[in-house]
Amino acid sequence: MGIKVEHLNYIYGQGTAFEQHALKDIDLEIKDGEFVGLIGHTGSGKSTLIQHLNGLIRGTSGAIYFNGKNIYEAGYNMQALRSHVGLVFQYPEHQLFEVDVFSDVCFGPKNQKLSKEEIESRSREALTMVGLDESYYKRSPFDLSGGQKRRVAIAGVLAMRPEVLILDEPTAGLDPKGRDEILDQIERLHKEQKMTIILVSHSMEDIARYVDRILVMNHGEKVYDDTPKEVFMHYKELEAIGLAAPQITYVVHTLKERGIPIDTNITTIEEARDEILRLLSK
């Protein structure tokens, strides 16, 4: 069933000098099992939007349906919504607090008031999903590397067994290899656990090879919502709003402009290599 957002508006500081229309009439549907990238520069409203999806921020007007039910209806269980729609924030430092990795991951399921056995088995499962074995369980989360901390933070949310996993810039501050490792891990969650994933980023290059669909936000509005190929076609418009398509898009479009009959749907290096080789072999 997934998530459906209808005419969502969010205005903060209404009636004061600081009034700001942070989200403007957002319509959006995310189906079960999708892998969606959410892109926009700082202040575009992308972080505000995801916090609406698990009820941390309440919209000024509009509606959000999760599995068909309006979350703004009286008596809707927000606590339960937060375990169905898991949100991992940008900095793991904002959530790690326990003495060891395992207890930290247990925090979510503990709040769900599960039995001790259930809490532990879910936490074990979550840690396995992010690729941390038992040797990490008793380590202090504060002694880990940046990439490992991020894994623990993700496991902390996965342990609640969410249907939808939202990650706010999970690669910020990581080195290139660490970035690829985390993104590969997330892709595995999508493929193996059939989890719906929303990946927030400000880098097109990072997510182009992973997601099926890209949402682009600018000034609180949804400006594009399509497959990566279609969205990157608008690379000039993207530039105008402070984003850029992957370098590969520029390569392909420049070749095209210079009269090479190349397929402009290409978004990855491998595709570009094969297409250029095909053209050269003629």
Binding site: L56, E93, H94, F107
Partner: protein, 266 residues
């Protein structure tokens, strides 16, 4: 939004009071507070009222901002006024059962109320016309003599100014941590006091760790920029008295003399 919290309550206009040296204003506030404890007579209160009114007028800050500060002391005000009203012995002018109000009671409680209100309004004129930075600078310079008795005045002032810079950052961070934990099902509202305190651990641990990290980073950044305490340091914005400060000091002295005169000479 949290970013918009301003510490203190500086009101940015370019008035006579805003342009005064912070030391002058600190001295003036002190004089005014002392005077409030000296006055005990309706004439002296009139002088104090005149003094306060002209300060408000000179500050160009809307009266509303001054009065706003009173909200915090409403309770204290009510208690102290009613204590004085009902418990002062003397000539009764109103009696209902065991409750009696005396003439002396009315007078003392009225003076008490006015004193408290003036105290708050008087000190908020100071904070409304002086930026926290100027205030810190003013305090540092005014208290410099304490250096001789080995009070680290510069260091304390530097700490205050760093606190001013980091409090809004930490407030914002608290909000982020709260949200991150709420996304994991944390509950900061329900439960009894002990439970509530326990529920704060997931908020406080990351906050403290972050604060320590910021402190270490900042110390390193300060050292890298050649910071080594107050010695040998010059100032980008040194405090300098102007002519208006001289005049103002004179007014303060005259005011204090007038109030004291009313009390001791009659």
């Amino acid at each position: 939004m949290l970013k918009d919290i301003t510490l203190g309550q500086y009101y940015p206009v370019d008035s006579f009071l805003h342009k005064l040296d912070p030391r002058t204003k600190l001295f003036g506030t002190m004089v005014f507070i002392i005077s409030l404890f000296v006055v005990n007579d309706i004439r002296a209160y009139l002088i104090a009222t005149l003094f306060l009114a002209s300060a408000i007028w000179l500050s160009q800050v809307p009266l509303f901002y001054m009065v706003r500060g009173l909200k915090a002391i409403v309770f204290l005000l009510l208690i102290s006024v009613s204590f004085n009203l009902f418990l002062t012995p003397g000539e009764a002018i109103f009696r209902l059962g065991f409750i009696k109000i005396t003439r002396e009671g009315i007078q003392i409680s009225a003076f008490m109320g006015v004193r408290l209100i003036y105290l708050v309004v008087g000190s908020s004129i100071m904070t409304l016309t002086t930026t926290p930075n100027q205030l810190t600078d003013g305090l540092e310079k005014s208290l410099n003599f304490l250096n001789k008795v080995r009070v680290p005045v510069h260091e304390v002032a530097m700490m205050m100014s760093i606190a001013l810079r980091f409090i809004p950052i930490l407030v914002e961070e608290t909000d982020k941590i709260m949200k991150a934990q709420m996304a994991r099902g944390a509950d900061f509202e329900s439960g009894n006091l002990i439970q509530k305190a326990k529920n704060m651990i997931p908020l406080l641990v990351p906050l403290f760790i972050s604060a320590f990290r910021r402190a270490t980073d900042l110390a390193m950044a300060m050292e890298a920029r050649c910071y080594r305490g107050g010695e040998g340091r010059t100032k980008m914005k040194p405090l300098r008295y102007g002519r208006r400060d001289g005049v103002t000091y004179l007014v303060f002295v005259l005011y204090l003399a007038a109030v004291a005169g009313v009390r001791f000479i009659g």
